[in-house]
């Protein structure tokens, strides 16, 4: 303990440590029966940190390039000590991160935490979610196996369907007209340089905003607490909430370790650009609902191409969803009810379509 205080004093003398962490010390977290949902953002952050660490470790052995990528991942999985663990954790944590980010987003919708003044927090969170999906999409290709190759081919093909700018976007993503080694090099660049930089920046903004506005209390409860301030219950962020969050992180780490050791991430077979596509090409699960929708949409909707309509609808829906906080105050609770309905619809649509996508051949 004396060592700890010693360090604290040393820091305090030079950096005014106490002042720096002062706001953190004052920060409180409301206690109610839905407090558990506050942990999701933190878990997502923790998984992101794991991704950064394991990603850096993987960079020690990974080699981008159509000739070497698969072999280098195979090398990591078979020859490097604990390479299987690092890679499996990286893959599992990536998927869990998207899952917790989605859960975090829906909890914000249903607890109406997006409402004024936290619109920008919501927006930065949405951008973070898109970035996370970009991480997933670009990272999926990096092992250069058959499934990833064709999933990328299909994914970028869909991008190419966007009217006017689609083709240029596809060429930009692929680094040419086709998915080749050039695509791999590009995706590698996005995955390890562009996206991490942007994400780190946005995470900092997101956290600063959360810090600035404090934790949102569900509106019903907030009203009750305002009426009777004595009922309001809070816990200190530090150490009470922080230690609880730490518990959650530890549990997440255990789950990750168990998944990696018992179900190591598969490698598949090396991609062969000239082979015909294997049956059952499917994207990562978080793109499944969109993929399945585009598959089921009729070829022609009115006079438009069905796929283009699907893409436009998803684009519009995504945009509206991003601007969701701004509808909250519209027309005496009508906007609020509409958002609630849209949230329930979106959640059930995503779940239903994802299940359908995996059940259907």
């Amino acid at each position: 303990m004396s060592l700890f205080t010693g360090v604290q004093n040393w820091l305090d003398e030079r950096f005014h440590w106490a002042e720096l962490i002062g706001p953190l010390k004052k920060k409180t977290v409301p206690i109610h029966k839905l407090s558990y949902w506050y942990f999701l953002g933190g878990i997502t952050l923790f998984l992101f940190m794991i991704q950064v660490c394991t990603g850096i470790l993987l960079l020690l052995y990974y080699r981008p390039g159509a000739n070497e990528a698969f072999e280098s991942v195979q090398y990591i999985m078979t020859r490097v000590q604990f390479g299987w663990l690092i890679r499996s954790i990286h893959s599992w944590a990536a998927n869990l991160m998207i899952l917790t980010a989605f859960a975090h987003m829906f909890s914000v919708v249903f607890l109406r935490a997006y409402r004024k003044p936290r619109e920008m927090t919501w927006l930065s969170g949405m951008v973070l979610l898109f970035l996370a999906m970009g991480f997933g999409f670009s990272g999926y290709l990096l092992p250069w196996n058959t499934l990833a190759f064709f999933a990328t081919k299909v994914g970028t093909e869909i991008t190419g369907q966007v009217p006017i700018v689609g083709h240029s976007m596809m060429v930009f993503l692929r680094g040419g007209e086709e998915v080749t080694g050039a695509t791999l090099t590009r995706f590698f660049g996005f995955h390890v340089a562009v996206l991490p930089g942007l994400t780190t920046l946005l995470v900092l903004i997101h956290l600063a905003l959360v810090q600035y506005f404090g934790m949102s209390v569900p509106p019903g409860l907030e009203a009750r607490w305002e009426a009777a301030p004595g009922e309001a219950r809070q816990m200190k962020f530090f150490p009470s909430f922080f230690l609880r969050e730490l518990m959650a992180w530890y549990i997440a780490l255990g789950a990750l370790g168990a998944l990696a050791a018992i179900l190591p991430w598969e490698l598949g077979t090396k991609a062969d650009p000239f082979a015909s596509a294997p049956a059952g090409i499917r994207p990562e699960w978080y793109f499944m609902f969109m993929f399945q929708t585009l598959k089921k949409i009729p070829a022609k909707v009115w006079f438009l191409d069905g796929e283009v309509v699907g893409i436009l609808v998803f684009g519009a829906a995504g945009l509206l969803w991003m601007l969701l906080p701004f509808f909250d105050q519209v027309g005496r609770g009508r906007g609020r009810r509409f958002i609630m309905g849209a949230g329930i619809f979106a959640l059930s649509y995503i779940i239903a379509m994802t299940i359908y996508g995996y059940m259907a051949k």
Binding site: N67, E71, S72, Q81, L85, Y250
Partner: protein, 153 residues
């Protein structure tokens, strides 16, 4: 939350909790750091090659001689023609995937399983094989004979 326990037990219990927490944290950090440290140690085999492999050293092959080597996941055949030219081909017969061999008496590549014959360019010239053998590129780099997959244009 319970309250008011005998004051005497408190320090003992606190000590226990501290030991459990401290020990858990230290041990779990060791459990995280240990694999990472092991991961950092480079393995004895530098890499798995990829689409390029050192098939032989110069002088390993005599003119009109051959050797089977591993290329990726399949066997391949390196041969030195009587004229002193290196050729590298897939050694997997296109008929039923037996491993082919160079016949220095015939100056042809022969599959023993069903008497298939290929010429030195890998073209199937007699017997059951339905397709030519895949040909690879050969470079001589220093004293190493390097075989690589043909690049698509």
């Amino acid at each position: 939350m319970e309250t008011q326990e005998p004051a005497k037990i408190q320090p003992v219990r606190r000590r226990l909790v501290e030991i459990l927490l401290g020990g858990g944290v230290v041990a779990s950090i060791v459990a995280f750091v240990y694999p990472v440290l092991r991961y950092l140690v480079p393995p004895p085999v530098p890499d798995l090659g990829g689409d390029e492999v050192v098939a032989a050293k110069l002088g390993d092959l005599k003119p009109n001689g051959s050797k089977i080597f591993r290329f990726g996941t399949r066997p391949a055949l390196l041969l030195l023609t009587a004229e002193g030219e290196y050729r590298a081909l897939s050694a997997v017969c296109t008929h039923l995937s037996c491993t082919v061999q160079y016949r220095n008496d015939l100056h042809e590549i022969w599959c023993a399983c069903h008497n298939g014959l290929y010429d030195l360019n890998g073209r199937n010239i007699s017997g059951p094989p339905p397709r030519p053998l895949d040909a690879f590129q050969v470079h001589v780099r220093g004293d190493e004979i390097v075989v690589s997959r043909k690049r698509e244009a």
